[in-house]
């Protein structure tokens, strides 16, 4: 079982990254071989519409030469993809979007639809700094068409949203803070479990 865990947020040690680490721990707890990626370390473009992947016999691989293409190849050969991504305004971070453009467009066949024959389970964790209820009710419905793209991997898809705890909140020792710490523990174990299940 190979899993790839992607921190698709710009920071390497924030709440989003911590949840990615929980996913990593969850995947490893069931014996998966895991690669951990900080996506913002990559200098990448979204899909450049070179359309090489739309030529005869070339569907199913991204041919653009940069750091991302080898990662796309590893993703298409793994069993489980776990991504945590911050929501900026009402959308996942732009680097995540760039990855999705490249990863999905190269498996789209204009002849047969989905050219991907393997199976990858996907866990997607949104982190946001406003009410998760509001996000679920008013924002997430607009993300449905993007979320549906992951069904092209023919596996299980689990998507959850989590409200972040900022550094400022965690440095104040108030009752509220204790609640938020409990929330993090709860969120972290929730991600851990989803990751473990998707890698089992």
């Amino acid at each position: 079982m190979k899993a790839i865990v992607i921190n698709a947020g710009p920071k390497r040690r924030d709440y989003n990254a911590r949840l990615a680490k929980s996913a990593l721990d969850g995947a490893e707890s069931v014996g998966a071989e895991v690669e951990y990626v900080d996506l913002y370390r990559y200098d990448l473009h979204g899909c450049m519409i070179c359309t090489v992947c739309k030529n005869e016999e070339k569907v199913g691989k991204c041919y653009w030469k940069d750091d991302l293409s080898p990662l796309i190849e590893r993703i298409l050969n793994c069993d489980c993809l776990l991504i945590s991504v911050p929501i900026f305004f009402t959308e996942p971070a732009s680097h995540f979007r760039a990855l999705v453009e490249r990863l999905i467009y190269c498996i789209v066949s204009y002849k047969t639809g989905n050219s991907f024959k393997g199976r990858i389970n996907v866990g997607l964790f949104y982190t946001l700094n406003y009410s998760a209820d509001y996000f679920e009710k008013s924002v997430r419905p607009h993300l449905k068409s993007s979320e549906n793209l992951f069904e092209m991997f023919n596996g299980d898809v689990e998507i959850r949203s989590f409200r972040t705890i900022t550094k400022r909140e965690s440095s104040h020792d108030s009752g509220d803070l204790k609640d938020r710490k409990k929330e993090f523990d709860r969120d972290s174990s929730s991600v851990f479990e989803i990751a473990a299940n998707l890698c089992s």
Binding site: N55, P86, F88, S94, V100, E101, Y110, K111
Partner: protein, 210 residues
């Protein structure tokens, strides 16, 4: 009048670029001073959440992350009109269009009360080019794209969105596994509809740059 024109497509010579060049000519026709950028030529990333723009000691309404995009953000905030075009990939504008919005809008958004720090006024013309037909855009995409208009409302100006639909993707479909599309139908649209879209882009560019 200053107008900034941005092609947020990876392609520099196809539909989106042609639309944006037409919008630019429209702006120039009413005497605006224009500057044109191919967004994909710039080396930059979306917002890094450095939060420098939220520091009390810093001047408000400025992006402090230094890369190729920073001067473009400064220029937009100093202009009277922004004309921006993006192709639609899987129902959304391109990732780099999105990266620009993250940086441009976050630095003028107040975390005190959610208002705009920006005191000027920039009119915005948004052009979406897509393979999808107009009916599909109206029914399935327009609502989700409205959040982008909301974000541009932080620039306090008039906002016009124009969809350019059913565009021709490649010049020779026979070279590609793109049997789902008809070269003939696409060419027909390109000959009959696309010139109207160019004309409309010109008008919007002119109107918003007055």
């Amino acid at each position: 009048m200053k107008t900034i024109v941005i092609n947020a497509s990876p392609r520099k010579k196809w539909n989106t670029a042609e639309i944006m060049q037409s919008a630019q000519k429209g702006a120039e026709s009413v005497g605006a001073e224009t500057e044109y950028f191919n967004l994909y030529d710039l080396v930059f990333k979306g917002c890094r959440s450095c939060l420098a723009c939220k520091l009390k000691e810093k001047t408000k309404g400025k992006c402090y992350w230094r890369d190729d995009l920073t001067p473009v953000i400064d220029k937009i905030l100093d202009a009277d009109c922004l004309l921006i075009g993006s192709p639609i990939y899987f129902g959304q504008p391109t990732s780099e269009f999105r990266a620009l919005i993250e940086r441009l809008i976050f630095c003028i958004m107040s975390y005190d009360d959610g208002s705009s720090y920006f005191t000027g006024k920039v009119n915005v013309g948004i052009f979406y080019t897509m393979n999808a037909p107009l009916e599909f855009y109206e029914q399935s995409m327009k609502d989700s794209l409205a959040t982008t208009e909301y974000l541009f409302s932080f620039l306090n100006g008039q906002i016009t969105t124009y969809p350019v639909c059913d565009t021709i993707q490649v010049s020779d479909y026979s070279k590609f596994n793109m049997a789902g599309f008809s070269q003939e139908a696409k060419e027909k649209q390109w000959i009959l509809q696309f010139p109207n879209d160019l004309e409309k882009a010109f008008e919007i560019g002119a109107e918003l740059s007055k």
